[in-house]
Point group: C2
Chain length 328, copies 2
């Protein structure tokens, strides 16, 4: 099945650009609704970080290290590299007796405007703590300390990544067809959009077992610490705040988005085929509004779907709209 049109950019009286994709909503029994192809194979990218964090808790590593919910939120984050994130990951590593050099995520300039400016104007290079995935990697290092693996915890056959892969295949209910190397150098295992939605539904309906407890803890950490999951002005942070902490959501590169709705027992996964983040953000807003979890007229929602796009003189130039048939 082909992807279906979801999000359109309008300018004047005409559609200027179009984004198609796949989206699936699951409950504990299976698919509740689907658009496009539930069997489309994707890289979930950072949208599966809460899955990648399961072994951290299930192994006992998180408790052994005394991790807080705030740290667990960081383990699931694609953060902006603001001071608050950098300091938290730095303190985490220090608590483990480790240092920035033990990370294997690499360095990139932070998205946070203030920290970006501070580095730029003081001629400082970013460090690995600024990497948007440094919280996930601090989680990997915490697990690695517990498992006693060697330093190269990002290699696909390392005990840390073998544990991540096993958890990923179990919760998606699929044997992954393979992995790609992510921006942070960790392997990212492929799955179907339907498999990813099924995994999110498991997080929304945690079983009364060790895995279910880990899922509940990660979901609560994310929705309880929206700033740790992304940053000021970012979709995950603003939309989780707009929903009053009732829902956990997570973006992934190349236009993946997932949501966990514990009160409704629902999980969502979507992928915009062309990889455009503006469209994945608009599409998750549409689905969350459609389900009644998010007010479509909330400023955080309107900024990503339906609100006027203005140019640098403040003139309205266009807007993002839903395609006919999506989601209703």
């Amino acid at each position: 099945m082909t992807p279906i049109p979801m999000i359109e950019l309008w300018r004047g009286d005409m559609r200027e650009s179009l984004h198609a994709g796949h989206a699936v909503i699951c409950d504990s029994r299976g698919v509740v609704a689907a658009w496009g192809d539930p069997d489309a194979v994707i890289y979930p990218r950072s949208a599966c970080k809460m899955i990648q964090a399961l072994p951290l808790i299930e192994s006992g590593a998180a408790d052994a290290a005394g991790l807080t919910d705030r740290q667990l939120a960081l383990a699931c984050a694609s953060h902006s590299g603001a001071g608050v994130h950098v300091e938290a990951v730095g303190a985490w590593l220090e608590g483990l007796g480790l240092a920035e050099a033990d990370l294997r995520c690499g360095s990139h300039m932070p998205g946070d405007p203030a920290e970006n400016r501070r580095l730029t104007c003081s001629d400082h290079a970013p460090c690995q703590l600024h990497n948007n995935c440094s919280g996930k990697h601090a989680g990997f290092l915490t697990l690695n300390r517990h498992l006693g693996g060697d330093a190269d915890y990002i290699e696909p056959d390392h005990p840390v990544q073998l544990a991540v892969r096993a958890a990923f295949e179990e919760v998606t209910g699929e044997t992954s067809p393979g992995f790609g190397i992510d921006g942070c150098s960790a392997p990212n295992w492929a799955c179907t959009v339907g498999g990813l939605a099924r995994a999110m539904a498991r997080f929304a309906n945690p079983a009364p077992d060790r895995r279910g407890q880990a899922m509940r803890r990660l979901t609560d950490a994310m929705r309880g610490h929206p700033l740790m999951v992304a940053g000021e002005g970012r979709a995950c942070t603003e939309l989780m705040r707009a929903m009053g902490g009732t829902v956990a959501i997570k973006t992934g590169a190349e236009a993946v988005f997932v949501a966990i709705l514990p009160e409704r027992g629902l999980g969502i996964a979507l992928k915009i085929t062309d990889g455009a983040t503006r469209a994945s953000e608009a599409a998750i807003v549409a689905l969350l509004s459609h389900l009644g979890a998010l007010a479509g007229d909330d400023p955080a929602a309107r900024a990503r779907l339906g609100g006027q796009i203005v140019n640098c003189r403040g003139r309205a130039t266009g807007e993002l709209r839903l395609s006919a048939g999506f989601p209703a």
Copy 2:
């Protein structure tokens, strides 16, 4: 007809994202080759700046103001707002007895890293000279001085914009279905991809008349001054340099790209449906290579199609590839 797959992002052994679009190659007699729908209606955005500059020359305004080829290249530019661009547009306005405040393009932070950093770290706001369209607007002001219109030269019924619309409809051979407001607040008239390619073929095969002379002058200005058309590191500048000044090319927002090949008598226009610039750049590289105008293994080409994408630790993570059937 639907758009056809053109550009794919591969990661690991799997296609991660996909871009589809429309592309047309014309010679002086009409369509030579087409992919997708030649009749797809698009906003050409900044890819039609050389058309918008025709009245500037044809009216005699450019000669009355003594404009150089370097200034004409700026009139066709989406520049980076580097010092070299800002100074050139400032001097142009000064030569007209006008000032930055006469521009109606608005201000945005420049793409040029050095100038961006200078403004950021000195707490200076950008001015309208930094707007990537300030050269086009300096051209509008030059034409307006000649026509004696009022100050609001960006209004769709202003003599400047009426002249632009007339030229646009004549060279595309179409009555435009309407306009949208561009990022720089000027009206941007819609046309088909085929109409835009036909216009580019006219630039490549200029008639021995006043319009043809204006077309030749603008094409020569663009390919003779690639740095003025965009900026260091940008696709238009790097690819025109790689082709040794034989071809004029121009990008437009939302993934439009055009090319004028005078030696071959060909014009190209393309639009990636989803608006992704990475794909429009890769697609124009593919078409220019396909026609033998650009060496596919030139670093400027490989950076946009076929070269390895590396992450912040220098690891290869993927690459942009051509879809089967495009362009051959």
